[in-house]
Symmetry: C2
Subunit: 453 residues, 2 copies
């Protein structure tokens, strides 16, 4: 048999998630779901595979090139989705009459791109998108900012900055400079301002567009206006010099900032930053980026914006929308670097040791009683030496181990070992484990831990 | 542009999930996660794509034929996973030294099979597996039965029967009849007993194996012993006639039944059924099937069993295991037929109408205050006519709509419309919305509904 064995391995750029890492992912995904739902966004799902024609030409040349594509057994040309926006567009074109508007959805699902893995990119990763489709109301733009703010807070991150801007303002300023048709290369260059210096950005602008060095310098001075949000808005208004589209964009920003604050977002958590551009072609209004103040260099962990026409490729019906996407992998990498992650390998709080081989029924009863009281409890399956069982409990990251033999059962109590301190406690063991459950629920040796159950 | 438009459509056998259907799926998946976690099973994930050699030859000829496979841009032969068991075997072979044993994992993820869609099968569907790897202890077999029982109960189904059997018993009985080497075709025929009559099963047995009509009749009489679980065990013991392996299987069944009952499973919810066979080659011990009493004909909604050697194809280390898988699509189809599903299209309980266009800040504040008190609340984004907003609220399945204009705000109250009865209630509106939140949390017009938030 051994000569036929197959080496167990995964494809480059693809990952196995071990329990500790997966629990962290699930915790963030569950939080995102709960926050999205609390605003009325409903879940949807779409197929991993789509007709190739649905997917090609909707992203960039790069995503087209990176797409996993093949001919299926029925001779159809198919591709694996590379984002959740193109499937959303196809889905809305197909179902919007049944869905009605406003249509608020979230979609948390894997996507696939055959990227160069040496840049630390993965070929399979999770996207966590939320969008409101079919409304041009700025209330939906305000809400996106409030959702992002609430999402980060609920995940346990308080020190972040949500940066917003409006593409109408950027486009208006470029129009005033006679550079409207050069928006794409100029805004793509501008996007790099967060990671490099102004000189490099200006150099790229003049190289990639028709902008002169003077114009590039002007653009940089325009987008680098500083002050409070109100001061920036006032300066922009002057710079707009009566230009209607620019003024409309400025008014929209003012409205979004005011609404976001009315909804309870602290003034310093939302920053108007005219230099953020999100160089993707389809954004047309408000744009959002979110940076962790302790780690701005990792880039935005939650980004999005408003677009005018989601479904134009598939239907004549024009559907505007606004939304954002949480970058799960980037956020987890950041949280790891900031020491915000737990290392538990088990979702359970308590290990019930199999101490006395004649007491299995009792252990089973205790586990059931505690679970019915909302506790996550694991029973060690074999009556091995206690030391071995406790070693397992420590390695897995249980908070407590329960030890009970004949002596304990006769005295109607059990021993609870706190695995972080090594201390033992005697706890009463009534028929329904009420006291034990209360004891466990009121004790938590590791204050930051948030166990399931 | 219209001539270039692409028809929005999905591939045959693949599905879009609209919000109402997706919320039902998420509710069951969340329940499964919570139950699995409460027993200490931890989540894992593996890639959708694997090297083809990992996947081929590990399922059946049928799964090999149905697999989505292609050559990636790097010239690798790859396939999309068709179940979660083969990836688990590869994963354990690769990581078991780091994971340690017992290794308890759950895995909830989509799999892909190019099946004939005319049988009502899908080409993309979700599997919800849980297994304990690395222990031969029957405690882990007991636990699988307890998990299944708890899972169905938590999903809201109480009228079901968990049927168990043991492959050692079946194999032992076949051995006594000199038919041990014919186990695969005989057990596959036996599996059909739930869906057809004894005569047809006997006919298939004699056609597909070397069994004579007399032997087939004997097998059917053996597996159709009836009585209480205890009576069946006693009868089997007699039939075993001292045959060691059979007796071992009977002893294991006795142990599993006793332990399951000690853990609180009602006696009539667990039925020993010697005729269930689960004709897959790899099962070697306890096997499980779960039928809804109101709809037995749809087949088992949660099935599994014990296997001796999960990882033999990849490593010389032998890893036994036991687990089961919830059939999400089948269960949802059954629940729909039984009228157990909700039709809500929104996860939110309350729609705050945008009644007075000058009061946006107030509406935003109310929404934030209610969300901070754990309620899921949606704000209608446009100050449309109230009738239109209420129509939207009804269509989406909100329970309540909040209406407040100048008059209400001045009187520090709001109007809450119960959308199921049409009644309106005046509720006080204090600064933090405490009374409103309490009112909403204590009222629920649709008793069966379980909204998020």
């Amino acid at each position: 048999m051994s000569s036929d064995r197959i080496t167990p391995r995964t494809l480059k750029g693809f990952r196995d998630f071990l329990p500790a890492a997966m629990m962290q992912r699930e915790q963030i995904i569950d939080t995102a779901k709960q926050v999205y739902r609390s605003f009325g966004y409903a879940p949807i799902d779409t197929p991993a595979l789509e007709y190739l024609e649905i997917l090609t030409g909707k992203g960039s040349d790069e995503t087209d090139r990176q797409m996993y594509r093949f001919e299926d057994a029925g001779g159809r040309q198919v591709g694996m989705r590379f984002d959740l926006t193109v499937p959303l567009a196809r889905y809305c074109a197909q179902h919007i009459n049944e869905l009605g508007t406003p249509f608020k959805r979230y979609h948390i699902a894997p996507v696939w791109r055959g990227e160069n893995t040496h840049r630390g990119r993965y070929r399979e990763f999770m996207q966590c998108d939320f969008d409101t489709i079919g409304s041009q109301s700025l209330v939906t733009d305000i809400e996106v900012a409030v959702v992002i703010h609430e999402l980060l807070n609920q995940i346990g991150i308080s020190d972040f900055t949500l940066r917003i801007n409006n593409r109408q303002v950027l486009n208006g300023l470029l129009e005033q400079l006679g550079l409207r048709d050069q928006a794409t290369p100029i805004l793509r260059a501008l996007d790099k301002l967060a990671k490099t210096d102004a000189e490099t950005v200006m150099e790229e602008m003049t190289r990639q567009s028709t902008a002169t060095t003077e114009q590039a310098a002007k653009i940089l001075s325009l987008v680098q206006v500083t002050g409070t949000n109100g001061e920036i808005l006032d300066q922009l208004e002057k710079l707009a010099d009566g230009h209607e589209a620019t003024l409309e964009g400025i008014e929209a920003l003012r409205h979004v900032i005011e609404g976001t604050q009315a909804a309870g977002v602290a003034q310093d958590a939302l920053v108007l930053d005219v230099s953020i551009a999100r160089g993707l072609d389809y954004y047309t209004g408000t744009i959002y980026e979110t940076f962790l103040n302790a780690l701005p260099q990792i880039g935005s962990v939650c980004s999005g914006g408003r677009y005018d026409n989601l479904t134009g490729v598939y239907t004549k019906q024009e559907l505007p929308g606004v939304g954002a996407s949480l970058g799960l992998d980037r956020l987890l990498a950041a949280m790891e670097e900031l020491g915000l992650l737990q290392g538990h390998r088990t979702p359970a709080k308590l290990l019930v040791t199999f101490f006395d081989r004649d007491r299995l029924s009792d252990y089973l009863k205790i586990c059931t009683a505690l679970r019915r009281r909302g506790l996550a409890v694991e029973l060690f399956p074999e009556p091995k030496k206690l030391g071995q069982q406790l070693k397992y409990a420590n390695r897995q990251g249980f908070e407590y181990a329960l030890i009970a033999g004949t002596q304990e059962f006769e005295g109607q109590r059990c021993q609870i070992k706190d695995l972080s301190t090594g201390e033992s406690h005697n706890v009463d063991l009534d028929e329904q484990c009420e006291q034990l459950a209360n004891w466990l629920q009121s004790h938590s040796p590791t204050p930051a831990s948030e166990h399931a159950g």
